[in-house]
């Protein structure tokens, strides 16, 4: 009897583990779903009278990032987002949502525009990552991303980022140093793609499902880590099954979040934004293990491993 219980509980553990892996990997697939609504679809559904504003004012217009002005429920806003495209032609035109330095510099100049005219900013995050090309590297990709983050951190206007698909590493974070980060139920946000992680740590990209599980990239997991403030519901099976419905959920989340942010004094908002990012991380301090654990909710009933 005791043996049987042991056997079954081990089996249950294995199955739960399998399910977690399956869930994480499935979410990665849905986040990348070809027909999933992209930034442009959300702009069309949420923003009235959108006027696209192109170019970085230096050398180019990067179509992997779209931006412009429009009305959100009667409030003029600046919208900036990665654009992936749906058909192959669109995807190529938008470089699969992988921005170059020009794209990040376009975002920066739109931040300045918003700041000058006191307009709230909505960003939409949907990128596999910053474009890894020679010209992008040599055009200052690293510094462009760093500056974009810095400029975003300094804004005095309200900023809300919404992760709507893939939140791929630094290229995603560059548009997400926001007062509040929202995330759709089936979106992912991660330090590296599961394939990239598997290739390095497992030395084989085939282990991507395992890496996806280990990285904990789903909205509910990130909510538990305080990396995002809110999970935005999606229609059954994913946003692609009913874009209008998905957009309505995003609309409601944006409306409520914006109302909350507008009520805060600009200087305080900026200070709180900085504090938000300062607190992110997990460490302990002092001789008593775990005496000070910084902003760390427990992911499982097990105690934190400390070393």
């Amino acid at each position: 009897m005791g043996e049987e219980i042991e056997r079954l509980s081990t089996r249950l553990k294995t199955l739960r583990h399998e399910k977690r892996r399956h869930d994480a990997w499935l979410t990665v697939q849905i986040a990348r779903e070809k027909d999933r609504p992209r930034t442009r679809e959300y702009i069309a559904l949420l923003i009235e009278g959108f006027e696209e504003l192109k170019g970085d004012r230096l050398r180019a217009d990067d179509r992997a990032i779209v931006g412009g002005l429009g009305w959100f429920e009667g409030q003029a806003v600046v919208v900036i987002g990665h654009q992936k495209g749906r058909t192959l032609d669109e995807q190529q035109m938008h470089n699969f949502g992988m921005a170059r330095p020009e794209g990040y510099r376009k975002a920066q100049r739109l931040f300045r525009l918003a700041e000058r005219h006191k307009l709230p900013i909505f960003t939409f995050v949907d990128t596999p990552g910053a474009y890894p090309g020679i010209a992008a590297e040599e055009g200052g990709q690293a510094r462009a991303i760093a500056e974009t983050m810095r400029n975003m951190a300094r804004l005095s206007v309200p900023v809300i980022a919404t992760v709507i698909g893939e939140g791929g590493s630094g290229g995603a974070l560059a548009l997400a140093v926001a007062d509040r980060v929202l995330m759709q139920e089936n979106a992912t946000y991660s330090v590296i793609s599961p394939e990239g992680c598997a290739a390095i740590l497992w030395r084989d990209a085939e282990f991507a499902p395992q890496a996806a599980e280990a990285l904990r990239p789903t909205a509910s997991q990130l909510l538990a880590l305080n990396v995002i403030e809110r999970v935005v519901k999606e229609p059954r099976g994913g946003a692609q099954n009913n874009p209008e419905n998905a957009a309505n959920e995003v609309r409601q989340a944006l409306r409520e979040t914006l109302a909350e942010l507008v009520a805060i004094d600009p200087a305080a908002r900026r200070a709180q934004r900085r504090e938000r990012f300062r607190k992110l991380g997990a460490f302990s301090e002092g001789s008593v293990a775990g005496a000070v654990i910084n902003a760390l909710p427990s992911l499982s009933p097990r105690p934190q491993r400390d070393f």
């Binding site: 990552g129 020679i134 330090v191 991380g281």
Partner: protein, 332 residues
Amino acid sequence: MSVTVEIGRRDDRPPVPPGGAGWSCPKCHQPADPAAVRANLQVCPACGYHLRIGARERIAQLVDQGGFRERWAALKTLDPLEFTDLETYPERLREAQAKTGLTEAIVAGTATIASVQCVLAVMDFGFMGGSMGSVVGEKLWRAAEMAATEGLPLVAVCTSGGARMQEGILSLMQMAKTTCAVDVINEAGVPFVAVLADPCTGGVVASFATLADICVAEPGALLYFSGPRVIAETTKEELPADFGTAERNLALGHLDAVVARTELRDKLANYLRLLEGGGTPERIRARRARSRSPRGLVDATARRAKALAAHARRPFGRGDREAVYTPQDIEA
């Protein structure tokens, strides 16, 4: 996608260990006396090839005798994701700790470099590829905060493969956190100088390191956001032989200078003195006192601007006229 650890192409830069008989340079293959190489700061005496060095050795090379006091050493790494790949994260950490004798990939504290007081943070590539996790981010934050409140300049020696995958998204967030830390230093008006050593890539170059007031690199150091492997796989582009080197980055305008290790200490001290106003110790102390009250610095700058704007000999300047600058203008 590519923020994360991609170990540099060259794993052939281990420092010359103490003792040992024969040594020959991995680049020029010239044999040399290990003691001479060490005395030359782990730079090949024949060809100038810079070997990688750990944080402790770097600190010893830069600071004055007895001029370093480590801080925040009690910060401990946790395993928030309970991350396991082929090994668990705690196993990987223990190995790194045993190998380097460090607790984390960064050592920070107060230092004196050629008589200039500063806060010094030094990364160690030998510790899990110098990857940036929560403790690295927190130490950088505290170093920046201390620099700002004490009115001391910050020097960061950076060598890193990028964000630490084992802490997942929390590592990515350290990019934003350290970027905000630079803002803290900038607002206090204290200097921040970054030295990029081989290799410095991914999330570290795309955050605090390249936001420094002065950003220099060691000769031959590889610096990039996306690595050659990722670029080749994604774009099939053919990489130039010197892709990502400090020298190429200098030519492209991404660095202020390439500084040989043998000159680094004096250069750093010079940069700090210049950024601090190049004055006598009294002047530096006075500036520090002002920067302790953030308002003081702005007011002093504004007073000076006002005085200059109103200077009688300034073209179109009118001695009696209210200056066009207000403290707010200066601040913005």
